[in-house]
Point group: C2
Chain length 319, copies 2
């Protein structure tokens, strides 16, 4: 059994036979009849999976104590702008998976709106609208590469541009920091902007080519990365939150298609349709050295009438 599990297969049923077959159901049945249905559903599944996990790997008592201590260490490390539990969830792919569960939408004939990916903690509700063709670069870093970013926001059913949609974007500077965490180098709202599409659904503006950065490695989440033999880097990315009253919103991150960390993103948030192709340009009128086009596909709200966006996440700063 132990050797089976080592090579990645599981054999919970075989292992379970050595143990009391009624124990897990006993714990589940301790819930009172008045337990709320959703609480019962979540706790039933959680208890089953935690018990199956323990039996499958035949967890030792020392390992279990280590796990308890680790969970305590995560909570003890908590402070404003530092959420190690959140980061561990990201490292294990949980935030990205929960995002998919809540936003995955495949239409009947295989059409799909632009993929969603995690919001992250740096979205701001105060980002200003800017004119089409404006620049979000208020403070140009020495190593910054000015980029002309443009595209069309389209209806996934008709393929037509959506006028009046909002393309809200934010990105870190070349030092890996967002404006609010870098007051020495960046003025408020640097590298943030909201753009409203024109009558054809088009938008265009200037930003920086994004650059990769490492997540904070001073806490217990870094121990998990080390155990797994993983690096702490996120691929370079530009965040976007695209909205329109008649369409299901799309929150995602866009990555240069040649970024070295796409396949090994620390927070497992890369998807195939979120890649950008930065092309060198010369003699661009506003001095851009790169050009990138990205089109967004939005689904009408009829497909998910109760859809909402979890913007309150933005108040849970974690990195």
């Amino acid at each position: 059994m132990a050797s089976n599990a080592t090579n990645g297969t599981t054999d919970a049923n075989a292992a379970a036979s050595r143990f009391d077959p009624n124990f897990t159901q006993h714990v589940i049945d301790l819930m009172a009849p008045e337990t709320k249905p959703r609480h019962r559903q979540i706790l039933t599944s959680l208890i089953r999976h935690m018990h199956d996990f323990c039996r499958e790997v035949e967890l030792t008592q020392s390992e279990w104590v280590l796990g308890v201590n680790y969970i305590n260490a995560l909570g003890q490390a908590y402070e404003k702008n530092r959420n190690e539990t959140w980061r561990v969830m990201d490292i294990l792919g949980i935030e990205s998976l929960v995002d998919e569960i809540n936003h995955s939408l495949v239409l009947e004939d295989g059409r799909a709106p632009t993929s969603s990916t995690i919001l992250g903690p740096f979205w701001s509700p105060e980002t200003p609208f800017r004119e089409l063709g404006g620049s979000v670069v208020q403070n140009m870093p020495k190593d910054g590469e000015l980029t002309f970013f443009h595209g069309v926001i389209k209806d996934v059913d008709t393929g037509k541009g959506i006028p009046g949609a909002v393309f809200d974007m934010w990105q870190a500077s070349t030092n890996g920091k967002y404006d609010v965490f870098d007051p020495e180098n960046q003025t408020r709202h640097n590298l943030r902007g909201k753009f409203r599409t024109d009558e054809n659904g088009k938008f265009w503006f200037y930003c920086l080519k994004p650059t990769e950065y490492a997540i904070d490695t001073s806490g217990p989440s870094a121990e998990l990365l080390k155990i797994m033999g993983r690096h702490p880097y996120r691929p370079a990315h530009i965040h976007m939150m695209v909205t329109h009253p008649d369409y299901i919103g799309v929150t995602a991150q866009l990555y240069p298609k040649d970024d070295p960390y796409l396949a090994t993103d620390t927070v497992c948030a890369v998807k195939d349709d979120l890649l950008l192709d930065f092309k060198p340009v010369q003699n661009e009128p506003n001095g851009a050295v790169l050009d990138v086009e990205y089109n967004v596909r939005m689904a009408p709200k009829k497909y998910k009438p109760d859809s909402t966006m979890l913007m309150e996440n933005a108040n849970q700063n974690k990195f």
Copy 2:
């Protein structure tokens, strides 16, 4: 899918089809080749079960954030003698399950040694040996019921008594407190004692009839109990740790067979062969009002040559 899960069945495969079928394996495959085999085994199983759990209940983002905050609250509540993470594990049956995984031993023809159950945080390595027939009651509470406790420690194969085995016992006083947490009422080593069996494997001594008590309900673990509609009581119990150099040790808790909390123990640590029948007696020479017999079955070490007991748990006070 959601309604299936509500009534206790699971349908992870059906739910999974809506989502990227490769994502979980992607996260697992982020582990580097040099990851230690046991780390790989544990994390592979943990990632699979956590992902299946999220998909099965279609966890919402708000619920996920609530979970992250709850884990943080557990760690933030940590202090000496207060381990809320440990207690949550107990409420979910995890400590008891891990104990079973590490100690379950069923011999070929159905014979079984006495069941193991969780050690708890109150065992002491300094408990003194006492004479057979002595009393562990150094401080008799007003509502205490003196009990004559006796039995035989037997070889599970031969049924014969094991001479020189050690029956180490400890119990709370009638106020629900152990000696070290109750210096006003109890002298050191009150209600603790080690007894060495005679040439026939017999032991006998005086103790109190144990009484039920509630676990601490001032922290986040009590929120979980409340959500599940569960009470905070442990059934009354006497702890025992039985050892002999040639036998696999047995650590367990013994419960009055008529205790009202047997079926709903907060920490899920009751087993059918750990029940005590307290019988009233009159004119007992040392004033006992109750008599209880309990025999222990031990398996020779040949069945598990590498068995050890996790006494270091005793340093992880949690209640």
